[in-house]
């Protein structure tokens, strides 16, 4: 049923410098900007489309609208001062930054975090994954005009934000996972309230299934659309649900388990068609899996013992020269921090590897060719991109 449509042969030739030979004055082609201020774009980015009729012949991703220069700013902040800033790199799922950063400096400094902290970190990451996926489901359905899903998922996401708030003290930027562990233990009565939230989430997920995935319009517009040839996955650094939607069971949680994941039971969700529907379905099942994992974590986690390792004075914490890479499976794929230290109190270099970086740039530009204008938004959302992590 599916086929690789990203064949360029019938489209304009390339000039010698690699640019597309498109004569905009010919009247045959039109340039269309989708974004940055556009309902069909994910966040503050834009796609420069060259269209012929309602078909895209070329698309260029433009980012940088959210560039704050984190990697530069971190070079002039001490290791503890980097802690509040990293979460801002990705707004909908900030905790992954906190975890990767903390884990990287912990590894370089030789710090072992307490058991309870590991579990709380895992809990937070799963809560964050769930939230991110809720945003995705709302966005994916919204990109096809199915606005009601977003109304529901935003509500459950908000309930989860309430849990975040009581656990971490903040709604969006939690700043809870810091080098050495986490700030605090679970508040009293957290489990019961979490269970209530999870039940509500499960109810919503049923509705999402009925109204979104069982919806003829949605199916019609997503099955077979936005196909990615699994053979391209390695070429374009495709990871996470995007790869798993194409039958490749890439999941860092299973491939290179971290935190408490070795102690948790879960199957890697895979679909086979590598189209928008498959990716959406993988993510839907990921969300359900998160609910299950949160339950498992709360049931299995230790409730006593410290949550912070014994740390040196953070004000002048120096870390010996070294470099490392910490990865984890965030809701969109492989998220990682490459951290280089030089023995001073400041990181020498921090490089954030977000899945959107490869998905929304090179991969999108490849996939978008031949795409119908109306499907661009759906395709883009189906890659689950968050622009701030591209440009940082």
């Amino acid at each position: 049923m599916v086929q690789d449509l990203s064949d360029r042969s019938q489209y304009p030739a390339r000039n010698r410098d690699g640019t597309l030979d498109v004569d905009l004055t010919s009247g045959k082609y039109l340039k269309l900007w989708q974004g940055p201020n556009h309902p069909g774009i994910t966040g503050n980015m834009s796609v420069e489309l060259t269209v012929c009729g309602d078909e895209v012949v070329e698309g260029k991703t433009h980012v940088g609208y959210l560039h704050r220069g984190f990697e530069k700013l971190m070079e002039r902040r001490t290791f503890i001062q980097c802690f509040p800033i990293v979460c801002r790199i990705c707004v909908p799922e900030p905790d992954f930054n906190e975890y990767c950063y903390a884990a990287a400096v912990e590894e370089l400094a030789g710090v072992e975090i307490p058991e309870q902290a590991k579990w709380i970190r895992t809990l937070i990451l799963e809560m964050g994954r769930f939230n991110s996926l809720m945003m995705y489901l709302g966005g994916q359905s919204g990109s096809l005009g199915l606005g009601v899903i977003g109304q529901w998922t935003t509500y459950v996401r908000d309930l989860m934000l309430d849990r975040f708030e009581e656990l971490t003290g903040a709604r969006i930027y939690h700043m809870f996972i810091l080098p050495g562990g986490v700030r605090d233990t679970l508040p009293e009565g957290f489990d019961a309230r979490m269970e209530e939230t999870l039940r509500e989430a499960e109810r919503t997920m049923k509705d999402v299934w009925n109204v979104m995935f069982q919806n003829a319009v949605f199916r019609k517009r997503t099955i077979g659309v936005g196909y990615i040839n699994p053979a391209l996955f390695d070429d374009y650094g495709v990871t996470g649900p995007t790869a798993r939607g194409g039958g490749v069971a890439k999941d860092v949680r299973r491939d290179q388990p971290y935190l408490a994941y070795p102690d948790l039971e879960f199957e890697v969700n895979v679909a086979r068609d590598s189209d928008i529907y498959s990716r959406a379905d993988v993510r839907r099942r990921d969300a359900l899996q998160s609910i299950d994992l949160i339950r498992q974590i709360l049931a299995k986690m230790p409730r006593t013992g410290p949550v912070m390792a014994k740390m040196p004075n953070m004000l002048h914490w120096k870390i010996p020269r070294g470099e490392t890479y910490i990865r984890g499976e965030c809701s969109r794929g492989e998220y990682g921090f490459y951290v280089v230290t030089d023995g001073s109190g400041y990181p020498r270099r921090v490089n954030v590897r977000g899945p959107s970086y490869t998905h929304a740039m090179a991969l999108l530009e490849r996939l978008i060719v031949n795409c119908n204008i109306a499907d661009v938004a759906a395709l883009l959302v189906s890659l689950h991109t968050y622009p701030p992590e591209i440009e940082r």
Partner: protein
């Protein structure tokens, strides 16, 4: 300047050639002007009341604060009941929410969006970054004081401000509008040169007309 913005000869589908100067032809160059209040105060008060009760926000998520808008658009906080709603195009909006930091690249777009909005129009700065740079105070790519570039009617503090704080902000903005003090658009027209100079200082590839109306 980008090629597509340079003046050029274009051949239409009908075969007739004509000259296009995109900067002149695609934009309106007229400078903004001050809108004086209506002659009768009671009428102006009525207008202000009406304006305050229909805050239409441009759905332009300029920064991270945009993520707290979504709960407002959805049933839990439901800002629509307070006369607040989101519009996809500047032409239909009268409230520009600058949701946090603005990179210079976005500032350029924000200015365009703002200038394309209908007067009377309002700007609300969200979060610390709009006030004094916030946590990006030493970043080479974000502006520090929003009011140097756009007239700001209200600031809502936080990093980021919660939906409830935004709702409070809307209520406060309504008060300001009703009191006839939300004169940002007029201020922008009055101090147009000053704003432009500030904008051009940080936007290095200024390749658009001064006023993007």
């Amino acid at each position: 300047m980008k090629d597509e913005l340079k003046p050029r000869i274009v051949k239409g589908p009908d075969g007739i050639e004509f000259e296009v100067d995109p900067l002149r032809d695609y934009y309106c160059e007229a400078s903004p002007s001050v809108h004086p209040p209506v002659y009768v105060k009671i009428v102006e008060d009525f207008f202000n009341w009406a304006r305050s009760e229909s805050l239409w926000i441009l759905g332009f998520g300029t920064g991270c604060g945009a993520i707290e808008m979504r709960p407002l658009m959805t049933p839990r906080f439901d800002a629509y009941r307070f006369g607040v709603q989101w519009r996809p195009t500047p032409r239909q909006a009268n409230l520009l929410m600058i949701s946090g930091y603005l990179s210079t690249k976005t500032l350029k777009r924000a200015i365009r969006s703002y200038e394309q909005m209908q007067s009377p129009k309002y700007v609300v700065g969200l979060g610390s970054c709009t006030i004094n740079g916030g946590m990006y105070w030493d970043s080479y790519n974000t502006i520090k004081k929003l009011d140097e570039y756009l007239p700001v009617d209200l600031y809502i503090v936080g990093c980021m401000p919660r939906p409830e704080a935004l709702l409070q902000g809307f209520e406060d903005l309504k008060q300001i509008i009703r009191a006839g003090k939300a004169e940002g658009a007029n201020q922008y027209a009055e101090k147009f040169e000053w704003y432009k100079a500030n904008q051009k200082k940080v936007i290095h590839d200024w390749d658009m007309p001064d006023y993007n109306w």
